[in-house]
């Protein structure tokens, strides 16, 4: 009996067969158990003094365990942002048992626990493994959790389901011996929809999976995008990469980066710096040369294997339904609050009669991305009842019930409202991305969360939010840009000035098909000036837009920085 067989006998509960997640087999589970046992031994040796902190730190980071300002933080992977309801319940269990009853969903579609104890970390990981969850490759200079569209497999505008390829990338990159010690961390995003909701142009590799005129599957490949200290939009190095060559080409990109990426200066080690230094044309040439001599057959995935992976993501057993337009119209007409939620918090589904429902984790004055254990349990219950046991995490730090019957949408909304999870603000100025900032993070220069809370309170009026229209406002507590401030319409970056919190404001960024890096407006502002500054920017926009239909980003692109800068820094 091999180890996989022995672990297959463990009484680990089976995942729902309805949820569109990758279902672990005995081999996967055995691997996780081995990994936890290994880490448990490492923790014991650290506590006994057999390992120094310098020796132990890379080992704990490989298991997602960071030491932050106030405690250890455990970053748990949510592969491409998809959870079964059972997994969500297990997060709730870990939050209650090993943390302080809540967790924080991140822009990498992961979940972080802020108050983990080192002595209990192996037990927390063991609890996660009971639901096929782990924290591997959520830190370190490896290929991180692959992210994708939160509506993958559901969106009406999707041409190819990206989850299949995200899962292939996950299996390919997990403990990849050649790519476990890259020059720096490496982030991949993939979308299969017309609208890029995965921010592929600001990733180390961004992939758009699509079909050609003959229906064949291929990929558009973007490389060298990124945020952080050197924000840059990636370069498209392939307009079409056939499915057969998918992994071989990924190998080629990673090999070039692994061989030539800088290793002496941490701030110049990402692939975007290599691309900048050699130039996109030369970089592309090097990748194509590497690709040319890779034995393609070695990396070609057997169609049967792809089919087997695709089977994990087969559509759930949808009912054959007409679109419930009449029912919904009646409910919307009768209830203004429900109407607002339907308008802002739902997304068109490819299956007639269904819709995706967004659960806002941005209640007015709340902590963006935080969910209590009770809320996690409640969302899991709703997923069981209304969405085929499935929940998604968005990189905007919200949750999604991907497959809700339109004729049950009203019930879902009512249930969410009782949980304070029905704020109808998706895409508005209060749907703020915020990193943990200086309230938790050891790298941060300034707080992000209370800035978000204060802005949320200032713009709490839904009438006002809707008048302002679509506006993405993101906040990072330091230049590492976990809050994606560079690609926000209004970005806020926390900086340190002589030990005090200051904030730099950028305008005009975008994370989608028209990706752009925001422009710095001017000198950084003190903490108590930020909310008023955003108010001034928005009032300026409202005053100069051509009509209510002209979005903030479009108005900014039309008029440029000057009117906003003048308004913000005008001398009385």
């Amino acid at each position: 009996m091999d180890i996989a067989d022995s672990f297959a006998e463990l009484a680990i509960p089976q995942q729902s067969t309805r949820a569109g997640i990758y279902h672990y087999d005995a081999y996967d589970r055995a691997f996780l158990q081995e990994r936890i046992a290994e880490f448990r031994g490492q923790v014991e040796r650290r506590l006994a003094g057999a390992l120094t902190e310098d020796e132990f730190k890379p080992l704990r980071l490989m298991n997602g365990l960071y030491l932050q300002l106030h405690a250890y933080m455990l970053r748990c992977a949510v592969p491409y942002g998809i959870l079964s309801s059972q997994q969500m319940r297990q997060f709730a269990h870990v939050a209650r048992t090993y943390d302080r009853g809540y967790g924080h969903f991140t822009t990498r579609q992961n979940l972080q626990f802020n108050w983990i104890k080192l002595v209990e970390a192996p037990d927390a990981l063991a609890a996660l493994a009971e639901a096929d969850l782990h924290a591997i490759q959520t830190s370190g200079n490896c290929i991180r959790n692959v992210t994708t569209d939160e509506y993958a497999g559901a969106a009406a505008d999707e041409s190819v389901d990206p989850r299949v390829y995200a899962e292939i990338l996950r299996q390919w990159s997990t403990l990849h011996p050649e790519f476990s010690f890259l020059p720096r961390k490496f982030k991949i995003a993939i979308t299969g929809a017309a609208v890029d909701r995965a921010a592929i142009q600001v990733h180390d590799i961004g992939l758009a999976v699509k079909r050609d005129a003959e229906g064949r599957i291929g990929f558009e490949v973007w490389v060298g995008g990124g945020l952080g200290r050197v924000p840059v939009i990636g370069n498209k190095i392939r307009d079409w990469l056939g499915e057969d060559d998918f992994l071989a080409y990924m190998e080629a990109v990673l090999r070039v980066y692994n061989a030539l990426g800088g290793r002496e200066n941490i701030h110049k080690a990402r692939i975007k710096i290599l691309l900048r230094d050699v130039g996109p044309a030369k970089f592309t040439e090097m990748v194509e040369r590497e690709f040319s001599w890779i034995p393609k057959e070695k990396f070609r995935i057997d169609p049967e294997v792809i089919a087997a992976i695709r089977a994990h993501f087969d559509p759930p057993p949808f009912a054959v339904l007409p679109n419930a337009a009449a029912t919904l119209a009646q409910q919307v007409a009768a209830n203004a609050a429900f109407a607002a939620w339907v308008e802002h918090n739902t997304h068109p589904h490819k299956q007639p009669g269904y819709v995706s429902a967004v659960i806002s984790l941005k209640p007015i004055g709340g902590v963006p991305g935080d969910a209590s254990a009770d809320q996690m349990d409640a969302v899991a219950d709703l997923a069981d009842r209304y969405s085929f046991d499935e929940v998604r995490v968005s990189h905007i730090q919200n949750l999604v019930l991907p497959h809700v019957r339109q004729d049950e949408l009203f019930e879902v909304w009512q249930a969410l409202a009782t949980l304070d999870l029905a704020t109808p603000n998706i895409g508005t100025v209060t749907d703020i991305i915020a990193c943990p900032g200086l309230d938790y993070c050891s790298l941060a220069n300034a707080r992000a969360i209370p800035v978000a809370q204060n802005l949320s309170e200032r713009f709490r009026s839904l009438e006002r939010q809707y008048d302002i229209g679509q506006l993405f406002l993101n906040i990072s507590g330091c230049i590492n840009a976990c809050g994606h401030h560079h690609v926000a319409h209004i970005g806020i970056l926390g900086v340190d000035k002589k030990g005090e919190e200051f904030y730099q404001i950028t305008l005009g960024g975008s994370a989608t098909n028209d990706a752009a890096i925001g422009d710095i407006v001017g000198a950084a502002l003190s903490y108590d000036k930020v909310v008023d500054a955003v108010e001034t920017i928005i009032q300026t926009y409202l005053g100069l837009r051509t009509s209510a239909a002209e979005k903030f980003i479009d108005a900014y692109r039309r008029v440029g920085m000057a009117p906003f800068k003048d308004a913000l820094y005008a001398v009385a």
Binding site: H70, V367, G499
Partner: protein, 108 residues
Amino acid sequence: MQAKVKAKGAAQPLVITANRLGDGRVVWLAGASLGAEGQWSERVADAAIFLGDAADAGMAVAAKAEAAQMVVGAYVVEVAATPAGPAPLRSRERFRADGPSILTAAAA
């Protein structure tokens, strides 16, 4: 950090902080003379104040505490000596001393 502090001169009040190894909590060196590894308190008000280069002796105690697996990542923090005890000068250290400035989802 150390060099920057020394540049402030002998009169700059300093305290020493670290995270406790077992649970990561913020701790402050409270009694350097009490035992080789010192005593560590979760309250910044209990922190022992060193003036200028005297912090080197405190850091030596902290190094022993690190070697004894009590704490991790010890370093020196500039403070103002107030009647209520040491008050960190930099915002980062104030938040380490006081904890998150926000209500959490569970507490809200």
